[in-house]
Amino acid sequence: MKIFPLTLLPNDANINFMKMRWLSIAIAAIIMFVAIGAMATRGFNFALDFTGGNLVEVHLDKSASLDTIRDKLAADGYDSAQVQTYGSGNELLVRLQPREGDDSSAATAHAAQAVMKAVTASGNTGKILRNEFVGPQVGKELALNGLYALIFVVVGFLIYIAFRFEWKFAVAAIITTLHDVIVVAGWFALSGHEFDLTVLAGILSVMGYSINDTIVVFDRVRENFRSMRADPETILNRSINQTLSRTVITSFVAFLTVVALYIYGGGSLRGMAESQMLGIIIGTVSSIFVACPLLTLGFLKVTKQDLLPKAKDDAALARRP
């Protein structure tokens, strides 16, 4: 009977992913090293959440356009200034990251000057009410917590997958997930886009997404290993092809939802949406091109024995004198 009026992918997809496994792993490795290189050489453009910075409060004689002030500050070397109104419309709260080479006292002085300049340039007169430097300590603590979270997740994944599947799957899944996280983080280093708390949250949720995708494929691999009589490479290929339409459709819809976040969520959610958009793409590609190929390499090579119930062996052992 005819039941499939609409499909994104052909139902009988039979692409030989395993044939190109060396190529795909090599490309993945290169991308990852570029990402690591970018992080090492360029570093991140950390937001005020991490760096600390200046907080300038000004009282204006008349209300002003925030965008104009933002532009003026950018022209003066403060690219990521946050300008908000506060209290009545005549009070402004400006948050600035210190310019390169400024120590905190110079930064405090420069920040006040820059804000006054920007305010006067927009045809207004203002008075500085407060000019404070917010220490970066909090940021350091948070960054450290992010690292702890990463370690916790990695260990948790390892234990869970090793328990539910097998340790080789666990290692392959972790490598794939870390690859994805590194690539997304590397993108932020490379592009110089601002790295704030929501980006950190986005990257951590990429881990969730990436592992989710990989597990779905592995689940099918496990199932096929138990039911098919074939060599591991054929089984892996079959599994990827069988789950291909699911993988692509899920990613497509998930990508759509995050795009909505990117378009309509406004500035504060853009970094998060960006990291997730990228994470969904990388996570999808890597679950197809990296996760399964890893299971054919060196010590990670899976065999049918790995997934058969161990009970028989134990029983045999127990019978020995």
């Binding site: 499939f4 949250a201 969730g208 998060m272």
Partner: protein
């Protein structure tokens, strides 16, 4: 075969009804309002005449109000048009109503009464969604330990003195130990046993006439922990007196306190209230003004005295020995002296302080007692180009009257202005800070920005939903419709669960909602694709649906458990906004497993299941 137990339908129906009820309050907008309650339980009335007074005050200032009503809980609730009017109204009413009432900013629900009866409340909104002030304060624990160890030294001395054990000195050795050098021929056994009863936690070590009392590490940790706990309590009291609805006061890490005051915009006032610490110290006066003048001129201040100044810059010598400090204060009330009409504070001490005051006044009638007002204000200064947060301490003698009679726990002190005595009384009453604190961070979110954020977040979630739903409807037809129903229920459940738990909704929370749509999508796609696969393999439709659900369930479980781990890690190690995001993610994952596996299967069985005519085809 495709079957579904009847009781499961019942469960689903129940979940649906409960979800709708508890998600519903979020659909009603909240009125920005000002809540007025009595500051004391005695004599202050919240009644119709207060409502009249408030009404006339507001109409004089031309602030329109939606309603002014005395509520069941004994509060007066003034509903206003917008947050701007709310701030204006509160600023107007606070000074007018005085100290008898607490004026707080709040958000009044507009949901019907039956929802409130069921305890269905909307999610509280984070600062980023409604505006307000955010502070992070660091507690100076070193100074808490310092203060406590100094008190130990003083207590060891008085224990020895009271038991008539001669000693030459008692000094501190760093933070580890107290060293008491006993006089020759002193009864060391007696000293040891007395000190053991007085300080059971300190370990003793006697060498000749030198007794070392070691302070264990655990004791030091306990001191810092107590310090931060006491500071938390004190802050809570102060902020409650300040009148902010639903403030957040939390410990963060080992030495930080996070304070969020939603709805508040005036940082300066808030900082003053939160950061300032005022206390009183009682010390014996040595000599008089003339001796003090002479001592300052000749630089001959006696070793047991210190120079203090009065309000008129007159020096005065006070004993270094602290008789009673702010920690021994139990209560303080502003009062007017009935004899000369001067403002003052009526003070009650605890039993230790009362006993000391009694002992001192017994022996010193006719001598003078100095009362020192100590105020600590956190300030930021720049030293050698570095940001340094310090505490400025202002001390001044506010009263140095002659002790006319013996008194103990209760007495009055005068010499403050009306303002000062009010402020002092409220600060003393709310307790002293165990250790000074400095502001390490502060943020202000404007109310208009908050409203903008709500709009954007809602829009983002709505569109991500519309995108997903339209795709499913086109791609999977009937099963797409089933998926859509599951997704809608999923969103309802997430919102309802978060409202029940009282999780704070913030901007990243909206991102979490959008992400939970994505997670839910995954589970449903897995199921639908599996069914298609079974059908492709030539399995009859009903069996295909059942097998599809069965096979996909295992995968969904594994993949979601791992994603859940990531969510838990984010919650455990994150702060504020990260936690908000993590909560929505966790809740979303849990509900999506339920809706995808159980609910959508139930609907599919309703449509295709049972012993109906042999199914030829299904729309998927």
């Amino acid at each position: 075969m495709l079957t579904f137990a009847r009781w499961k339908y019942f469960v689903i129906l129940l979940v649906l009804v409960v979800s709708v009820i508890y998600a519903l309050p979020n659909a009603y907008p909240q009125d920005p309002s000002v809540q007025i309650s009595a500051a004391r339980s005695d004599g202050v009335q919240v009644n119709a005449s207060l409502a009249k007074k408030v009404e006339s005050l507001l109409s004089q200032a031309k602030i329109p109000s939606k309603s002014i009503k005395v509520e069941d809980q004994g509060n007066l609730l003034v509903r206003l048009e917008d947050t701007d009017q709310q701030t204006r109204a509160a600023d107007l009413l606070r000074p007018q109503l005085g100290n008898d009432y607490v004026v707080a900013l709040s958000l009044a629900p507009t949901a019907p009464a039956w929802l409130e009866f069921l305890r269905a409340k909307p999610m509280p909104r984070g600062l980023d969604l409604q505006g307000g002030v955010h502070f992070v304060m660091q507690v100076d624990q070193a100074s808490a330990i310092d203060k406590r160890l100094d008190a130990y030294v003083e207590d060891v001395r008085s224990t020895l003195r009271d038991n008539r054990v001669p000693y030459t000195s008692v000094v501190r050795r760093g933070n580890e130990a107290l060293v008491a050098t006993l006089g020759t021929g002193a009864d060391t056994a007696k000293a040891q046993s007395q000190l053991r009863t007085a300080f059971p936690t300190l370990t003793q070590n006697l060498q000749d006439q030198t007794l070392t009392l070691e302070v264990p590490q655990a004791e030091l940790q306990r001191i810092s922990l107590e310090a931060i706990e006491q500071n938390l309590n004190t802050l809570r009291n102060r902020i409650n007196a300040f009148g902010v609805a639903e403030p957040v006061i939390q410990r963060q890490g080992t030495d930080r306190i996070v304070i969020q005051l939603p709805g508040l915009q005036d940082t300066v006032e808030a900082k003053r209230q939160i950061g300032a610490t005022a206390t009183l110290e009682f010390r014996a006066v040595i000599g008089n003004e003339a001796t003090a003048d002479a001592a300052v001129r000749d630089r001959s201040v006696p070793p047991d005295a210190r120079v203090y100044y009065t309000e008129t810059k007159q020096p005065l010598l006070l004993s270094k020995r602290l008789l009673v400090s702010g920690e021994q204060l139990v209560n303080a009330q502003p009062m007017t002296d009935p004899q000369d009409g001067r403002q003052g504070v009526s003070i009650t001490l605890n039993s230790v302080g009362g006993q000391r005051m009694l002992d001192h006044t017994l022996e010193n009638v006719g001598k003078r007692l100095g009362i020192v007002y100590v105020e600590q204000t956190p300030i930021t200064a720049i030293v050698d180009g570095k940001e340094v947060q310090t505490i400025r301490t202002d001390e001044r003698v506010i009263n140095s009257a002659e002790i006319k009679g013996v008194f103990g726990k209760n007495f009055q002190t005068t010499g403050l202005s009306a303002e000062e005595s009010k402020a002092l009384a409220s600060q003393l009453k709310s307790g002293a800070l165990a250790a000074p604190m400095i502001f390490v961070e502060e943020r202000v979110v404007g109310p208009s920005l908050g409203a903008e954020n709500v709009k954007r977040g809602t829009m983002a979630v709505a569109y991500s939903f519309i995108f997903a739903l339209s795709f499913f409807l086109i791609y999977y037809r009937m099963f797409g419709l089933i998926t859509c129903m599951a997704l809608v229920l999923n969103l309802l459940m997430v919102v309802a669960l978060m409202s029940i738990v009282g999780a704070t909704m913030s901007l990243p929370g909206f991102a979490g909602l959008a992400l939970s749509v994505g997670m839910s999508v995954d589970a449903n796609v897995l199921i639908n694709e599996r069914i298609r696969e079974e059908l492709r393999a030539g399995i009859p439709p009903q069996t295909a649906i059942a097998t599809g659900y069965d096979k996909a369930s295992g995968t969904i479980f594994d993949s979601n458990m791992t994603a859940l781990l990531a969510g838990v890690a984010l919650y455990a190690f994150g702060t504020g906004p990260l936690q908000g995001f993590a909560i929505t993610m966790i809740v979303g994952i849990l509900t999506s497993v339920f809706t995808a596996v159980t609910v959508s299967r139930g609907i599919a069985t309703l449509i295709y299941g049972g012993n109906r005519r042999k199914l030829k085809s299904i729309a998927i």
